[in-house]
């Protein structure tokens, strides 16, 4: 069974923020660093709770959570894969999957707002902004999970693998993509109207963005 490319859409799917925030907020509050303060009660807990509320309001007001999927032509060349006429990616596992007939879809997931906009929305409150940043990360990951779940639901019986594009490496480990190659891959979404770009140094704009490839292999 092949990957049903008809399920990929040419227009992005906008996910209501109300579907994301409650789960994301619950996940954040379960994190040890947050749970400890909230569990203590009193002023510290109410300060943090009030920042969580402000952060939710901020993200609710600014975010346009979107998922875009694009099938891309992929061909294996030894340990690398040529993605359409855009870019060549060095990835032996991906190359093996493509050589076995795997089909490749590029995904782009973004919250659609800048951190500068959030800081302004929060009137320059550093504490609230920090919590907003943590919460935005959780919202983005929840959106990513929805994107992958949708692909799974629509392609029962097909094995899906995700290859995330890591443009930058914070801790000095991991596979890094050249920002120019990322820019090339990102260009498949030029007509999606999501206004996502990547800087020469590899920062996504907006920052809360995920880009990657999904490989579909017959089980």
């Amino acid at each position: 069974m092949g990957f049903d490319q008809s399920v990929t859409t040419t227009t992005p799917t906008h996910v209501p923020i109300s579907e994301l925030l409650p789960k994301a907020s619950a996940r954040l509050q379960r994190q040890k660093q947050y749970a400890r303060v909230l569990g203590r009660g009193g002023n510290p807990a109410s300060s943090l709770q009030s920042w969580l509320t402000e952060a939710s309001d901020c993200i609710g007001a600014l975010a346009i959570p979107s998922i875009a999927l694009r099938p891309v032509q992929a061909s294996a060349h030894h340990s690398s894969v040529q993605i359409a006429d855009l870019t060549q990616v060095e990835n032996p596992t991906l190359a093996e999957d493509v050589a076995l007939g795997g089909t490749v879809t590029a995904y782009l997931v973004t919250l659609g707002f800048s951190q500068n906009a959030a800081f302004e929305w929060l009137n320059g409150d550093y504490g609230a902004h920090h919590v907003q940043s943590d919460l935005s990360n959780e919202v983005l990951f929840e959106l990513g999970r929805i994107a992958f779940r949708k692909q799974r639901e629509q392609n029962a019986g097909v094995r899906l693998k995700r290859i995330s594009v890591q443009v930058n490496d914070v801790c000095g480990q991991g596979k890094i993509w050249d920002p120019q190659k990322v820019q090339s891959l990102l260009s498949v979404f030029d007509d999606a109207g999501l206004d996502v770009s990547v800087t020469d140094t590899g920062c996504f704009q907006p920052l809360n963005t995920l880009l990657g490839l999904t490989v579909a292999l017959a089980s």
Binding site: N43, P44, S47, L48, Q115, H129, N168, V170, T201, G202
Partner: protein, 213 residues
């Protein structure tokens, strides 16, 4: 006047992030005509130093540091307008920004909060800051320039800023910090000090100014 016990309570309230108690005690000190500069330096700033030390030791997490900084700010908001009418000088003047190409602000913002809590006047230049903007900030009287970078690709920009500042004849000290840099990198690019985390950045700024060893 605040008694020694009251000062202990103020110290604890800042560490615990109890803004209400901080505001209440500082207001009482203000109303009693207490020396607020002394209260700031002898009680409040040491409380923030304590919470910073606890963070660096892994005893408290970022949210606890955030609520402590918020409680501290509640007191500073009362003290600042009064000290502004005197010849009070901040501990130092510092500007900070994420270098050109880096859009991350989380680490930088934590440093801003901790520097303010330590009594510094801080000018936040934001993210993706041009070399020239750092030099201009130094010309405005900032004694220390803090450079933040979170990415391996933006790390080299720190060295370029330092070279730019040297070429421009800037005498301000330069402190670097961020997840991808360390002391050896700071030494290699000629930075005056390196901060390993937000409280560490405060110590680095103090070292750069000769206020700490």
């Amino acid at each position: 006047m605040l008694s020694e016990d009251d000062k202990d309570e103020l110290f604890e309230a800042i560490c615990d992030g109890d803004r209400e108690t901080v505001v209440e005690l500082v207001s009482r000190a203000r109303d009693a005509g207490q020396d607020l500069d002394e209260l700031l330096k002898d009680t409040m700033i040491p409380a923030m130093t304590e919470i910073g030390d606890q963070f660096s030791a892994g005893e408290v997490f970022v949210p606890e540091m955030l609520v402590a900084a918020r409680a501290m700010q509640g007191g500073i908001d009362i003290i600042e307008p009064i000290l502004a009418q005197t010849d009070h000088e901040p501990v130092g003047r510092v500007c900070i920004g994420s270098v050109k190409g880096d859009l991350h602000d989380i680490g930088k913002n934590l440093v801003v909060m901790m520097l303010k809590g330590a009594g510094f006047k801080v000018e936040d230049l934001g993210v993706d800051v041009d070399n020239a903007a750092f030099a201009e900030a130094a010309e405005r009287g900032n004694q220390v320039i803090c450079l933040s970078a979170l990415l391996t690709t933006t790390k080299p920009q720190m060295g370029k800023v330092i070279q730019y500042l040297k070429d421009a004849g800037t005498t301000a000290k330069v402190v670097i910090g961020g997840a991808v840099v360390n002391q050896s990198y700071a030494d290699a690019i000629g930075a005056d000090a390196f901060g390993e985390d937000a409280p560490g950045a405060v110590n680095a700024v103090k070292r750069a100014l000769g206020l700490a060893n």
